[in-house]
């Protein structure tokens, strides 16, 4: 079984099971009785406890950021605000908006370029295998596990040498290069699931490399692109290490670096820091809420390789 099949199957299994559970006469229906009822209660109790743990940071973010500066005392930090005050968001946005825009200017092009590269790489490694292509693929994959500290020192040298140190373009380049392993992996596994006979037939009809890509692969690639775009947008948006090392100038900082700086400062009050954290998290959270299943598919694709 090809690896892409594993990924796709798991995604379908997740959905299929939900449907099955709604059907009457499934296992849930005939497991009545007191013991079953008690274990059901314990199950929900545990789930709610875990949910409370996962949601606690969101709660504290919201209540703190909605408080006015007079209300943010530590002894009342878990209490709801007595009145809604959006002043903290205005202040946080004033402090972070240039960096927020930097992050957009960084993450969108990086995600788009990465996906295109990943797509053609995946096409070659899945459908135009050459001698040693499996070894090349494994060697590329290693690149997504390395601690970036192991390349950071010479990387700063290279970036200064080519005049891109400190610039957003330079950071885009870096994210595109170090994104090659994961984007190639996802697309390669994705394309491996497309029957090769389809391509052979097109070849017989005289279609060439690009023609096959355009007329067969690309039309089937939409969800693959969504998965990879989300994955790359997320990792670039959330990156801190490359940005803090390669961008010394505050003007060009992405929002993660600016937020870390804001939260460490004594100037911004707590409600402003929390509002800033919420602002910095909003784009990726929105994507998760709207396109959650593609996000989850990316998580699965990035790990289940075998």
């Amino acid at each position: 079984m090809s690896s892409a099949a594993v990924v796709v199957t798991s995604e379908e299994d997740l959905a299929r099971d939900r449907i099955r559970s709604d059907r009457p006469g499934s296992r849930g229906a005939h497991s009545r009785g007191l013991r079953a009822n008690i274990s059901r209660w314990v199950l929900y109790l545990l789930l709610f406890l875990f949910a409370a743990w996962y949601l606690a940071p969101i709660y504290i973010l919201l209540v703190t950021s909605l408080k006015g500066s007079s209300e943010i005392t530590l002894d009342k930090m878990w209490a709801l605000p007595t009145s809604f005050d959006l002043g903290s968001f205005a202040a946080a946005w004033k402090a972070l908006s240039p960096n927020f825009i930097n992050s957009l200017l960084l993450a969108i092009p990086a995600a788009v370029i990465s996906s295109i590269l990943g797509s053609v790489n995946g096409y070659v490694l899945a459908k135009w295998k050459f001698r040693g292509s499996e070894l090349v693929f494994t060697l590329i994959l290693f690149g997504m596990f390395i601690p970036y500290q192991a390349i950071l020192i010479p990387l700063t040298q290279v970036m200064s040498d080519i005049g891109l140190y400190g610039s957003l373009q330079g950071l885009i380049l870096v994210h595109v290069i170090y994104g090659i392993p994961i984007t190639t992996l996802i697309f390669r596994n994705y394309y491996a699931a497309i029957p090769t006979e389809l391509l052979e037939a097109a070849k017989v009809d005289g279609a060439g490399f690009f023609r096959i890509y355009r007329s067969i692969l690309l039309p089937l690639s939409a969800s693959g692109f969504v998965v990879v775009l989300i994955w790359q947008f997320n990792s670039v948006w959330n990156d801190f290490l490359f940005a803090v090392t390669l961008i010394p100038n505050q003007v060009n900082w992405p929002v993660t670096v600016a937020l870390n700086n804001l939260s460490g400062s004594f100037v911004a009050t707590w409600n402003v820091q929390m509002a800033g954290a919420l602002i910095a998290a909003t784009p990726t959270l929105l994507i998760f809420i709207i396109l959650g299943r593609y996000f989850i598919r990316g998580l699965l694709a990035g790990s289940l390789k075998g």
Binding site: G28, I151, L155, W237, N238, N260
Partner: protein, 325 residues
């Protein structure tokens, strides 16, 4: 010859990516390795060879030894907690519960947030404000005594003390080194683990859930017909089938914990007495703050070696599995 022309095109298309990875991954790793053997200890590059001098000096530095201890503690606690919680949640979600989609989203959403945001919020929960000696936050929520529960600002390291019988025994059998504070558990690190598990356990849950649902129902049904209890079915039928997922999750979590950086930067930096210091932070400060590029490169190479020990066998195993399949 149409086919050969396409073959050439296909190689030309992938060549830039191969070249980029060759130069920026492998080339720069080799270059870092070289820097780790030269003097370079100011802002200006200085390529005077010093052999393994940089490695000797970082291993002579107690901060680095503490970092190794912290990494081991973090890795073990982080992996154990994430796997346990992930597996538990996946099994609960798999029990045909109401509102499955909502619970799943609540468990996974932290994956969409950056370590910086996670760190900023959890720091605020565990140790808000400037009064490090009496942190409010979570203590206030549960009515705990802030002078005794310091969380992130707790400098204590739990280790085997000199007055204990275990200490005597270990020293008498020549294992006295195990009683060093450098083998202990720094309490503040557990707060970082809490935040990291909050962020990553949903990922493990999703992996296990996908695995659970790929197991054919007939297999479990057959065991049920034989009269096996649900626990025995899980122990002897389900869990063995999840082994590849457990392994993948361990590798992925393990390599994350070996290079953890953003989270500790946002939460506590080095922490009290380097209780939350990590090799990644040590590398960054040594290199880019103190200008000791040679030593920073040596730390980086050791980090790479640790990750490679974990990841390379996994990659080879993984590729072999796919070729066999």
């Amino acid at each position: 010859m149409r086919l050969t022309r396409d073959r050439v095109i296909s190689l030309l298309v992938i060549a830039p990516s191969i070249l980029a990875v060759a130069v920026f991954v492998y080339g720069l790793i080799i270059w870092t390795g070289y820097i780790s053997t030269v003097k370079w200890d100011t802002l200006r590059p200085d390529y005077t060879p010093v052999g393994l001098g940089n490695y000797a000096s970082i291993f002579a530095n107690n901060r680095f030894l503490i970092d190794i201890r912290n990494t081991v503690v973090f890795t073990i606690c982080f992996i154990a907690a994430s796997l346990t919680i992930g597996l538990l949640l996946a099994n609960m979600i798999d029990r045909r519960i109401r509102g499955e989609g909502i619970f799943r989203s609540i468990i996974v959403f932290p994956m969409a947030v950056s370590f910086i945001v996670t760190g900023v919020v959890w720091k605020w929960i565990l140790s808000p404000g400037q009064d490090a000696a009496h942190p409010q936050g979570i203590n206030q929520l549960f009515g705990l005594d802030p002078t005794r529960n310091r969380w992130l600002t707790d400098a204590h390291v739990v280790y085997i003390g000199p007055d204990s019988p275990v200490y005597q025994v270990l020293h008498s059998i020549g294992l006295g080194f195990l009683t060093s504070p450098n083998i202990g558990v720094p309490i503040a690190m557990l707060s970082i683990v809490l935040a990291a598990v909050w962020q990553m356990s949903g990922f493990v849950m999703i992996l296990y859930l996908a695995g659970l649902r790929a197991i054919p129902e007939d297999l479990k049904e057959a065991a049920r017909v034989d009269g096996a209890s649900e626990f025995r079915i899980f122990r002897h039928v389900v869990f063995p089938l999840l082994t590849p997922i457990t392994l993948s999750a361990m590798i992925i979590l393990g390599h994350i914990s070996l290079k953890i950086y953003d989270l500790t930067v946002a939460m506590s930096m080095s922490g009290p007495g380097f209780a939350t210091d990590t090799p990644a932070l040590f590398m960054w400060q040594t290199t880019f703050r103190d200008g000791l590029f040679g030593r920073g490169a040596a730390v980086a190479i050791i980090m790479l070696a640790l990750v490679a020990i974990v990841v390379v066998p996994y990659l080879i195993w993984n590729r072999r599995q796919e070729v066999e399949a």
